[in-house]
Amino acid sequence: MSRSRRVFRPAALAVFVIAGALMVTAAPGAQPAAAPVEGSADWVAARIDARDTGRDSRLAMTMRLADRQGRTRERTLVITTLAAAGARGDRVLVRFLGPADIRGTGFLVWEHAQKDDERFLYLPALGRVRRIAGAEAQESFVGSDLSYEDIGGRRLTDYTYRMVEATAAWTDTQGASHPAWRIESLAKDAGARYPKVQSLVRKDAFVIVEAQVFNRRGEREKQYTVSRLERPGGIWTVMDATMANEATRTRTTLVVTEARYNTGLAEDAFSRRELEQGAR
């Protein structure tokens, strides 16, 4: 059983926050075999991947987790990212601000092009940084209904694409209709947990605004919906989105409360020392 061991993709995370989840992203250094025909599913996927997501970002958000009983708990967190440059891979720091008992808990990812990514965790109660092992791309992101792949995006080359509907439309919460494509992504890995995704992509933004995620049995297991899409600093950002898991009857809502891009973050802001000291 071979699974791609990809932990996290900071730039792709930025893509989520900025442009929408369930994206495709290029693997570091990966190039499509040939330029896709304009308007084709491959072309749409490539355009989603190629969007500007900023050099760095700082996003404050609320993560609302609802369990099968309908009880909700809320976490507030800040995600800062720094795009890869030169030999250095992407960097991501997730800091939890609430609830009180996990305040200060931090989570740091160093992505490497040539070796396994490194992940670190800081627990205030322990007072020390600990390394933690990587997770599969389709596993839960910090205990939510979203997977790392949902957040970080998919490798462009891990999927094949098919245009389902070239003249679809997406209606936003204000009732305005926007032209969209409906494309289907099929995983090349036969062991993928979610081998098929159908996504609705807004044409003017190259942002996925709806998606249905299917499991190996061909059943729809997760459903992603965007409620609010804005363009702070000229970069499309999903401000409010929900992933509902129909199998577990749980749902996760992410609401971005503040989005800042290209703020000049340095690499030091993503060190283990910063992970530990930044919590104090």
């Binding site: 059983m1 987790l65 369990d67 099968r68 009983q69 009880r71 708990r73 939890f96 009180a100 008992d101 996990i102 305040r103 808990t105 989570f107 670190f120 965790l121 627990l123 205030p124 109660a125 322990l126 007072g127 020390r128 940084v129 600990r130 390394r131 933690i132 092992a133 997770a135 596993e139 839960s140 910090v142 205990g143 190996r216 049995r217 199998a247 577990t248 283990r272």
Partner: protein, 774 residues
Amino acid sequence: MSPSARLARILYRWRLPITALVLAGALVCAGKANLNNINNDLSAWVATDSPEYVEYERFRREFGGGRTLIIAVAGEGIFTPDGLRYIDRISREIARLPLIERVQSLATANVVRQLPPQDGDDGGIEVTPLVGDRLDTATGAADVREDALDDPLLRGDLVSADGRVTALVISTDEERIDAVRGEVIEQIRGIVDTARPPGLATYFNGPLEISETYNRITLANQRDLTPPVLGITIIALYAMFRSVRKVVLLVFAIGVSVLWTLGLYVLLGYEMNVLTSMLTPLVVVLAVADDVHIVQHFDREMREHGDRQRAFESTIAHLVTPLFGASATTALGLLSLATSDVVAVHSFGIGAATGVMVDMMVSLVLVPTLLVWMRPDTHTPPQETWLLEPLRRLGRWSFTHATPVLAVTGLVLVAAVAGVLRLRVDTNHVNFFAPGHPLHESADVMDRELAGIYSFNVMLDGPPDAIARPDVMARMDRLAEALRRQPQVRKVTSVVDYVKRTNQRLEGGAEAAYVLPAAPGGIAQELFVFGLSDEGRTELERVVASDYSRAHLTVKLASMSSDVVFEQIFEAERLARDAFAGSDVTPTVTGAGRIFATLDHYLVTSQVTSFGTAFVTVFAVIFLVFRSAKFGLLAIVANVVPVAAVLGLMGWIGISLNVATIMVASVALGVVDDDTIHFIGRFRRETAHGATADVAVERAAMDEGRASLTTALVNSLSFGVLWFSEYKPTAWFGSLLAVTMAVAFLAEIFIVPAVIARFPRLYGSAARPAVAAA
């Protein structure tokens, strides 16, 4: 004209339309009688509105139910590449089946592993699959074995302490699984049996397998037991009447009664279960008794007068009261089971009582009507001659040897009471199957090598975040330790174990660090870490609510006598109350073990209430039928003895009171009085016409005793067929009723004449020898 004669006249006049209605009703009922609508799930035993069931549902909705399928894989080769690949393959393939929610196995288990220090850091942890990519080499498989046996959450639960047995625990969508359960289990068997490595054996058990086995037995009972019961009945009827026409007639009438019973049972909204699978054999057996009396009376009238209308009317006029009395008392005995809180016993009582009364009404019209059409037999059947003299002598002997008969009766009663005191309640479902039965074998393996197949849960309710508080965690930890000290407990797990394990790994792996963290926020943060991964999140959802307002401890037990489980449950309740006294967290003991412990309680109370109800109502009807206190008392004496004898026998030979045998006393009380009613009724008719007591006894013994002996033989043999059921309670129920019928005949032929002789002032004197001889 007496009321019964008037009724006989009316029935004769309207016999054809009434018969047409009876047959049309049978056709309608045949369409409704769905024997495949089977429910042997939890709701077949415990009422869904009972507090215990409501609690269980609350628990199930929160943490998922305990109705799992457990597959044990046993053999030396588990921790080899072949063994692990096999477990990995079947885990994945089973997980893909419809309605499968989760497969817990070595292949899906996760461990909290410590990462070594690196680049000058303090090391780290990972919540990672136990097997991962280590299944291809012998070294990797050995490492997996070491990790599995090192993990206190896995050792003794998912894998035996010696690594030779492992379990797959399969959870399903409990809302929908029952509709396709058999099909899904078959698919799982197919997956498990395919390419199983040599040397590995598999065993199936768990609540889902038990329910499915019960469904299979329900069908098997209906399919396999009804034909021999019918066969014995046919043979006995032929031996009795030596007339193919009469046998066909009676089988037809019995068939009509069975269709009515099953159809009405379904129309009343009940489902079939392992107990009601005995309905058909029961109705067949009970219908024979009524029909034999009717045919015998009709034949005698035809031989004496040769007039069909007169035979019809005389049969009904003479038998309507005793038939009604006998059927009503039988029905009341069965109906008393409806007072039971055990759903299967309740529905069996309703179904069987309905069947008995329907059969009485069907027999009263249909059988004489068909007899009127039938060409009369010219021969006298052998039972009319062979049995007369021996039974007359037996009746006389009992009458003339009243003192020794009653002395022996007294001794039997004393022995019976001593046996009753030895009775014990036991609803151990595993013991309901023979030692070689697959369910029994698999339970043995799981009980011996793993944590057992029985479990209960202590659910904790508090305000949000309460469970993650250090004081509550410490109380849970103390409660878990106290429960582990209980002699029957095999394994106790809770969210506390996850926190301790995570803490140990975060603190470097030392044994001393397998404790709850002391730092403020430590528990919440370690739970947060554990829940970061899919696996951790899924596992946490099973043991603690997402807002930390609820959690539970799972307590696993080997399969054992339910009275021991019962004691254990109450001890657990006491320990839980003590552990959380003075806190804002409320403990509740629930789960499958709790339900079955409650079932035990229900069984005891239902035994008392149903037998009490049967006793009062049956004898009330007998008093009403006889309109005489002294004959009512005579019937009590004759009927209490067989019931006491059979209960005593159960005590002496070690048959427990369980879901099926609990019904024996009430059913027996209702059934055995039938012949007594006929016997006493005949005795009274004879004395009313001037016969002395001894002559009346002889005549009753000859005529009614003959019918009683033949029905006792037929019934005992027919009930005895149930002995061949693979489900022991069914076998016990049938065999005990067979014994009861035999003892009831003996009581009728020995005790009734002896009591009559012993109390001449009450029941009349014997004739003087010269008169008697004349």
